[in-house]
Each structure stands twice: as C-alpha cells, then as structure tokens.
Symmetry: C2
Subunit: 215 residues, 2 copies
DNA sequence: ATGTGTGAATTACTTCACAGCG
DNA sequence: CGCTGTGAAGTAATTCACACAT
C-alpha cells in the first residue's frame, strides 16, 4: 500500500496490540511469526493484520512471515516509541494514586514526570517519588519537561476545566479516566477509560441470555 | 425500526454513554433534550443518536425531543440495569486494590461481592469491607451470590488461567485489566481496559505533528 | 416551527482470493 | 509450497435528507 496513504485510526489503535504481542512472542523465543499465528493470539483475522501492516510498508517475507524482532522494532518506531514520552498526571485521589504507582507505563516509554492536584493537604507531599504540585504550576512543569501528554484522573465535575488547563499548557494528547466526555480543540487527542460503561454494555447481553457473542 | 432487529455491538456500547449523560442532564434539572443537544455533549452526531435509539422503539417526540427522565429509565432498562449485578474481582495487587476501593461501580448497579487472590499473605485479610479469599473458593462464592460478571486485575501471565477458572465458575462477562487478549468460549463476553495501548496509539500522532485529529 | 424516525446514499472497515515472491 | 501484499468484493457503520407528528 502507498506510503503517503495514511492509516485510519482503527488501524493505529491496533498497532500497540500487535507490538505487545510481538514482545511476548519475543520473550517466548519466537524468531518469526505468520499473520495467522499473530492473529490467533489477539482474535484478529490474518487478512486484517496483513492489511494493517501494509499501510506502513512491506514488512513481511513471502513464504516465511514476519521477523519478530524487526517487526516489533518497526512498529515501535511507527508509534513514536523509539523516543520516551513525558506525561503529567492530574488528580491524586485513590484512582490517581494507583495510576501514579503503576509501573506498567514506564516500561513502555511513558514517564510520569509531574503529579498535580488542588487539595492543599496533598500539594507539597511526596508520592511515588514525586512531589505533588498545585495545578497552577502545570504550565511551568509542562514547559520544563516538554510534556505533550497527560492523564486525567479527577472527578467528572472537574475534568473539563482540567483538560482546558492542560491544553493551555500545550498538552496535545489526553488519557481521560473521568466518567465524562471532554471537549478539546482540533489538534488535541483524547482517549477515554471507562470501566463502568464497559460493564454496562455487557449487562445488556446478560440480561438477554438468548443472544450469543461473536465467536 | 423493527423490534426484532437486534442492535449492533457498537450501538450497545454507546448506550451507557447516553445513559450517563442523561443522568447528568437530569441532575442539571433538564426535563427534555434533543438528539442535537445530547450529541453535542458527547461528540456524536444527532443522526447517530436518533438511529441508535430507534433500535429500541420510538423513544422521542417529534418537534420536542426526548424526555430526560423517561429516556434514562428506558435505556437503563434496556441495559439490564433495573436489576443489580454481583461481580467478583480477581487480583488484589495495587490495581485490584484501587478497583476494590472505587465507589463508582456501586452507584451504577455493579456490586463487588467477592475478592480473590492466591497470595497467602493476602488471603484471609479484610479489604474494603470484604475478606480476600483464595481463588479455589471462586465456584462456591459465584454460586452463592449468583455472580455472572467478573473483573480481572491479575498479571498478563495469569490472566488466561484466571479467565478459565471464572468461566468454569459460570461467569459470562469479564472486564479484563491485564495487558493481554484473553480467549473465551462462545457465550462469554470480554472487554479490555488498556491504558498503555491507548497512550501508545496517541504517541503515533504526536510523533507526526502535521496530522490533525478529526474535529 | 421544531425535531424525530428512517429508508437511501455514502463512507468506512473487513474479508476474499489470488498473483507473485522466497 | 507457504505466506505476504493487495486490488476487488462484500459488510458494516454513519450520515443525509425528508416525510411526518406535535
């Protein structure tokens, strides 16, 4: 597929999944993998994987499959993960604290470099190796650490205003844990984490029982 | 739209969002809302909302819009949220602990009735008002509380085996926080929570800068 | 007037199926 | 052969646009 043709967002969203699975395959000592095999691990058809990857060039070898190391490195490069990314976290309630302590980000090129809250009891205290600061200091810290991404873990009521502060501070990508859809200007990306909605979308089917999910 | 025609999963996934937004509108004292207005709050087109809702009957009034109270109650009924749902949580590491403490589930008809781990240091201790039990006791507790849903917060390595235990214990819907796609038999639903992948799918765009997200 | 409900049109995404390379 | 890469075909999801109800 042509280089200049840009991949739809659904494809971009699947790339991290491919990367992670390749990393697991790598750990398992696999050198090479077919689209078939890779797809079986993540419930994606072989054709889908081949088509997705074709947006980014000819990454496989006919008759052989994909080289695990190469493809992993290639996808990481595509995702911009050859560099590390500094991220700030806003909101240090129970959820924010769990996120701050979570080690899974750091392993994958995401570094939390600032913690922010407004609660005077929290501001100034240490947490997970960082000092919690007042959100007023966001612009300063963002500039200092060249922060382009943020994680929002405040209440639904405060999410929109926090997002606006972040955007004003130059943040271009936001992972929002608050149970509300936030509005952002063009040029800023948002993704939502919403466990309650996911659970509720499953109760729909359980309440119906006769319906079966796709194999 | 015909009653017997069943809504695609994308539609079902949007319903909880509609419900939540209606709940906010209700709190704000709104009595009635148009598809236009509702859509503006959650970045969904008015046509989309009307078409989605039409799967479930004629829920609005021409020239007026939708009655907030009625529509909210209707969607909740559709989602099976007129009843409450008992859920078990497996894995009480930092993430599982945060989930166990999170109050947002209970407010929305989801009740955590069992906590499970395998760590002998944790089993037997109290947490968030419940006693942590060994996963061996899963079948018993699941039967006792008629548990049909579960939340998995174990490591990637253990996720698949835990899911299999859950399925064996009769669980039909799983919210998986582990960074791996788990395989389930037909008739069981899984949804994934994957913050790292969401962040990585955004670094893709940030690393490209010229590309703008959809308005 | 206003705003729903819905076929028709459009756009987006996935799968097919096969030429061609190793 | 085995398995990729990819146009073509097929599905699915979204948006249009307008008749119609209030």
């Amino acid at each position: 597929m042509d280089k200049q043709m840009m991949p739809p967002d659904v494809v971009v969203r699947r790339l991290p999944l491919y990367a992670r699975t390749l990393a697991y395959l790598q750990q398992e000592g696999k050198k090479s993998v077919s689209s078939q095999e890779l797809g079986a691990r993540i419930n994606v058809t072989a054709a889908q994987i081949r088509k997705d990857l074709s947006y980014f060039g000819q990454l496989g070898k006919q008759g052989i499959g994909y080289n695990v190391d190469e493809l992993l490195q290639h996808i990481n490069r595509i995702l911009g993960l050859s560099q590390d990314w500094n991220v700030v976290l806003v909101g240090l309630g129970p959820l924010g604290q769990a996120i701050a302590r979570y080690s899974g980000f750091g392993e994958k090129g995401i570094h939390i470099v600032g913690l922010f809250d407004v609660d005077p009891h929290k501001v100034g205290t240490e947490f997970a190796g960082l000092t919690i600061r007042h959100v007023d200091e966001l612009p300063m810290v963002a500039r200092e650490h060249q922060v382009r991404m943020a994680i929002v873990a405040v209440s639904a009521e405060h999410a929109q205003e926090v997002v606006e502060l972040l955007v004003k501070a130059g943040v271009e990508a936001i992972l929002n844990y608050a149970p509300v859809i936030v509005q952002v200007p063009t040029g800023v990306w948002v993704r939502h984490i919403d466990p309650v909605s996911l659970l509720h979308s499953m109760t729909y089917y359980l309440a119906r029982e006769s319906t079966l999910p796709p194999a």
